[in-house]
Amino acid sequence: MTGKINLSLILSSGTLALFVVLALFAPLAAPYSPTEVLTNPYATPSVDHWLGADTLGRDLLSRSIYGLRYTLGISLFVTVVACAIGVTLAILAAVRRGWIDVLIGRTVDAIMAIPQIIFALIVLAVAGVSLKTLVGTMIVLETTLFFRILRASAGDIAVMDFIEVARLRGETLRWYIFREILPNLAPTLIAEFGLRFAFASLFISALSFLGVGIQPPDADLGGLVRENALAISAGKVAPLFPAIAIAMIAVSTNGIVDFLIRKYSVRGELQA
């Protein structure tokens, strides 16, 4: 059984690592310029152009490698910022309780009651489609999700005996947040980080696919699907490649998270 899990873990980490390297070194990794018209529109995959050409005859592999930069970069940035805000708010709410807990909790509830994509569409319509608005909206949505799960875990931890002991020992707030609560929150936090990253990459791709995400001439993976969408009715497969890349990012991330959840739940059972 362990061998099987490790295989899926190796595949998942390998895929993600490869994508990250490609994104980081896009100018070196891409065989051609992403903007130069090199061949016929929708040329089929060949030795020269592994994924074929896009709607204008640009190299689809090169465009996808540059697209990875946007998809991974934005997803990672959004997840890191939302995680930091979410953790801070969750611990604040769990430790302080009272009105501040109620206020944050109710606000999060109200935002979460609106379907995420509808929330994003409203904000983008009102504020106009721009990278800043896009990233800001995603951070707000992701923060609510981080808060919801971390507030529950932090609440469980904050009432544990060892916290009470630390409090009675006269430790400072700072000490028991960083030395007691955060370390115990870590497994939940790491798993949630992965889930949120997968969600972010799917979400930005969906918005770009709908035409309200990254705007041309720049294109993330979702934007590349949109650009080439017309080819589908002509029986071409060009838009499938960037779409498959998005699925690979999400599947690999979820695969790693799945492994972590299993691993930690096993450890938890052993302790009990």
């Binding site: 109710r106 509830d109 379907p115 994509i117 799917l202 779409a243 998005i246 599947v251």
Partner: protein, 320 residues
């Protein structure tokens, strides 16, 4: 003291209303802060200052913001959602046929997705940690990771282009024969089913597992009842209420899931209407779509919570 169910309904309904007000405030205030206003958008750039002033007076744009918000809410409650910038037609008239189309899509998907996902969820809970359970959980991990447009385009490529069994683009009801219309629904509905079943399966599995972990199930097993009897007469009736509310949640997810799928299949539903309205920045239309989507979503969530409370009285009072 009111009946506990009534007080729950009021508390939960109240928080649903707060979310709806948040939506309306978000769209309304956001719109009001924009440069230019409705009068400018309706009359265009060539309007004379006099006609602009007259129309502003007529639309009530000179009133203070809270008054305008109140008037807008009152209009909304009466079904008046304003006028679309891009088409000049009443937003409500544009919305209803689209909402009907989207609901057709969502309900057709629900008819397939619910029995499928719930039975798979129950199966994987009953056969916990078996090969089947692990296969189902592996499958659902893939299903949640694949974007809807990938599923849609693969289905189009195989079944519409290569095999030619179904059309790739949707046609509106009325313009074609009944069979053509059903045929055109097959691929979007299938995509929608793929996108939502993973979530429903997981929720069902968790719900059934938590029932199976209860003391009375242990008791029934200790009494020596057959596993079949324990499952069918002891566990299932108690799992019914969570499953019922999971079904409500699934319909809510299906309603939202239409947004991307309608764009993939060029289906004239509410989701496509809203995405197009966002691209044109037709704010009254965006407002209308957002309110309808949120209303449907919030009510279905409310129904889900209400159903579970109806069957499980312990949930009526919030625990401290």
């Amino acid at each position: 003291m009111a009946h506990p169910l009534l007080s729950f309904a009021m508390r939960r309904g109240g928080s649903g209303l707060v979310s709806l007000l948040l939506v309306s405030l978000l769209v309304f205030v956001g719109t009001a802060l924009l440069p230019g206003d409705a009068a400018q958008s309706i009359l265009g750039q060539n309007a004379t200052p006099e006609t602009l002033a007259a129309l502003r007076q007529q639309l009530g744009l000179n009133e203070p913001l809270p008054v305008r918000y109140w008037n807008w809410l009152v209009g909304l409650a009466q079904g008046d959602m304003g006028t679309s910038f891009s088409s000049g037609r009443a937003v409500a008239d544009l919305l209803w046929p689209r909402l009907r189309a989207s609901m057709t899509l969502a309900l057709a998907a629900a008819v397939i997705a619910l029995p499928l996902a719930i039975s798979l969820g129950i199966l994987s809970a009953l056969k916990r940690d078996s090969f089947l359970d692990r296969a189902i959980s592996f499958l659902s991990m893939w299903l949640v990771s694949i974007p809807a447009f990938l599923t849609g385009y693969i289905l189009i490529n195989i079944f519409a282009i290569r095999l030619g069994w179904f059309p790739s683009l949707s046609i509106s009801h009325g313009s074609a024969s009944f069979m053509d219309w059903i045929n055109a629904l097959v691929l979007p509905v299938t995509t929608l089913v793929f996108v939502t079943i993973a979530h429903t399966m997981r929720l069902t599995r968790t719900a059934v597992l938590s029932v199976m972990a209860s003391d009375y199930i242990l008791m029934a097993e200790i009494k020596g009842l057959s596993p079949r009897r324990v499952t069918l007469t002891h566990a299932l009736p108690n799992a019914l209420s969570p499953i019922l509310s999971i079904s409500m949640l699934t319909v809510a997810y299906l309603m939202v899931g239409v947004v991307v799928i309608e764009t993939v299949f060029n289906y004239a539903g509410l989701g496509k209407l809203m995405v197009d309205a966002v691209s044109y920045r037709d704010l009254p239309l965006v407002q209308g779509c957002a309110v309808v989507f949120s209303l449907v979503f919030v009510s279905l969530n409310f129904a889900a919570d209400f159903l579970s409370v109806l069957v499980n009285p312990r949930l009526r009072e919030p625990k401290e």
